[in-house]
Symmetry: C3
């Protein structure tokens, strides 16, 4: 399994490393030292430290938008140096490289996978692998070698049992659909675990109210400016998920919301 | 109107999206899926949310420094999904893509424009355009198609009435020139709305004092180290604007300054 | 002295400018206006403002990992516009460009240098050099010209006396090795000035304890998960330096640590 994509190959990077330390640049330096014909694209390096779910949500949303043949390196890796396996996964013409800790769980749930390999061939990783920084010593070199034409099956033995991840799903209860807040974005918009499809299926297209904090909102608006400046609303966002937002201000602060807080749909 | 620039074409990105969420990477993924022969350059993604003036100032300063043929995508877009028009503007061999809300107002004020078009040809945008994320669904695809050789006039009808922006200009009053603080940078330096040219014209080259907070500074220094460590000074900065700074410390904190605060020049 | 590296040449950028202002993008615009065949890589723009030591540590760690022929531009430049010299240094097939203020001191200490030049040839810098932003007006153009094939010796006269930097080194005192914290990373891990080699040489391979804040840790662990979640440990990090960390939480906050705080090794 190799890619016949035109060069340069795209390699994306997603981590919880931040951008102040040597970590991200060291990964880029290792990749470029091994393979110059690549295009490096940062997805994000500001994920919450050590947390798998936000990283899995971000990868699920962004990776499929890249062209076929893209190599995605993701390192949110609280178990680095421990027992978790380093893996390479092929999924719909994309390659995923990172720890087997659920990071790729939502991509795999939604798209399946064509193959997965445990990375262990020492030929394709740095001679001396630290126990605290596999991003630099192991995942970056594998990405560079894969971009350079090494076949997926050459990195190690095929595996089938990948670590899954639990995404809390909305629960029906009487005339309600009980959801929760998954992600608060840069603008303070609060994305829930209720997809547009789930809401539609549950409501049968009938009107419903959205209850969050102490507010009740009558239905879902189509864009932010459906309400006056500073007012809150429910909207299906660009990821087709129900979101609590305010027109040009922060819903998280206005309503005092945190990840995990309940958002309830109620039939009218 | 197309560009005959050498490939790869440069596409710059400027937003208020931050770098933690899927937004910026989704725009890059869309562009690279449609057109691989581009060089993506981030100008900034940390602009103050929903504010047009700082974005317009940044674009005015940075865009003209890029080579001819560069495509600049800018998305600070509080009215997304509402009535404001998506536009493409050609200005001095550069292309600007974004909402018609004044973002490009300072560039247009200073350089004029060669042509402007309302983006509406559905052939060049994503099949399903969300009402909350035109950066991904509309502006990114237009940039990719423009880089790929589609002519500006193919994106929609030509328009002439572009949204302007008010930049507060310094006011003469007796022996004074009343200005204000426009931008506080990463170092705490406070840039005013008084350009070097305006100060010179007003003063006729005669000495003047700078009054800010409760301080009076005798004239303008030529570099930060003209004063002792920690002391404040006035300087014409690298954008040729009057700036209140401190030598190796933060002027905003030392003097308690915010955007909009007055800075007054007084003849000696 | 030019580089025979394959095009595009890599130019890395390291500053304390942050990513919100026009500064970093202006440097990139200047470089790309003069030389398109380059690959720009950000090392970090979030270094502590005006501080030389953290920048020197970061450059020492990251630059040597890039391929030969890479051009490294670094601008942490509290003395901009003053007497400090702008320099170009060649070191192990890498080129360094920036102010002569100790930024490159650790690289030079550990690798020596093959040549150094004071940048003063006005042909290769912008026509009008501001006194507050040499990154844009002087260092960026020199990087572009060097990438374009201008020889190092054409930028100005050779010099030999480069500014050194003091890195506090660990001190032996009785049965102790007294070190200190140099760098606190994005995860709150606290890196010390004690290298693995120094610790080994001092201890002769015998067991030792690590004393920091009010804690005493028995020896050095091999990976973060050697201790329970939230517990602190000492580890040799991926830069082969002694580091105080906590398993999936912040050591700096848990132990109340700041740069400069003592970390002491004691023989058992």
């Amino acid at each position: 399994l190799t890619s016949r994509e035109p060069s340069p190959r795209i390699i994306t990077l997603t981590t919880d490393f931040g951008l102040r330390d040597p970590y991200v640049a060291s990964m880029k330096a290792v990749i470029l030292s091994m393979e110059r014909e690549v295009l490096l694209v940062d997805i994000s390096h500001e994920l919450p430290p050590h947390k798998i779910l936000p990283a899995a949500l971000l990868l699920r949303e962004v990776c499929p938008r890249f062209p076929p043949g893209t190599i995605h390196v993701a390192v949110v890796d609280p178990g680095v140096g421990g027992a978790r396996r380093p893996i390479l996964v092929k999924i719909q013409e994309h390659f995923l490289i990172g720890p087997d800790n659920g990071l790729f769980g939502l991509l795999i749930r939604d798209f399946g996978f064509e193959g997965a390999w445990r990375i262990e061939n020492s030929r394709y990783i740095l001679p001396s692998v630290s126990r605290t920084f596999h991003g630099r010593d192991l995942f970056a070199p594998v990405a560079a070698h894969l971009a350079g034409g090494i076949r997926a099956e050459d990195f190690g033995p095929e595996i089938r049992d990948l670590q899954a991840i639990d995404l809390p799903s909305p629960k029906k209860e009487g005339g309600r659909l009980n959801g929760e807040i998954l992600w608060i974005d840069h603008f303070g918009n609060c994305m829930t675990n209720i997809s547009e499809e789930e809401a539609l299926q549950w409501s049968g297209g009938e009107p419903f109210a959205v209850r969050v904090a102490s507010r009740v909102m009558d239905g879902v608006c189509s864009s932010f400016d459906s309400v006056p400046l500073g007012e809150c609303l429910a909207v299906f966002n660009s990821m087709r998920r129900l979101e609590i937002a305010c027109n040009q201000s922060r819903a998280d602060q206005t309503l005092g919301l945190d990840p995990g807080d309940p958002v309830v749909l109620e039939k009218a």
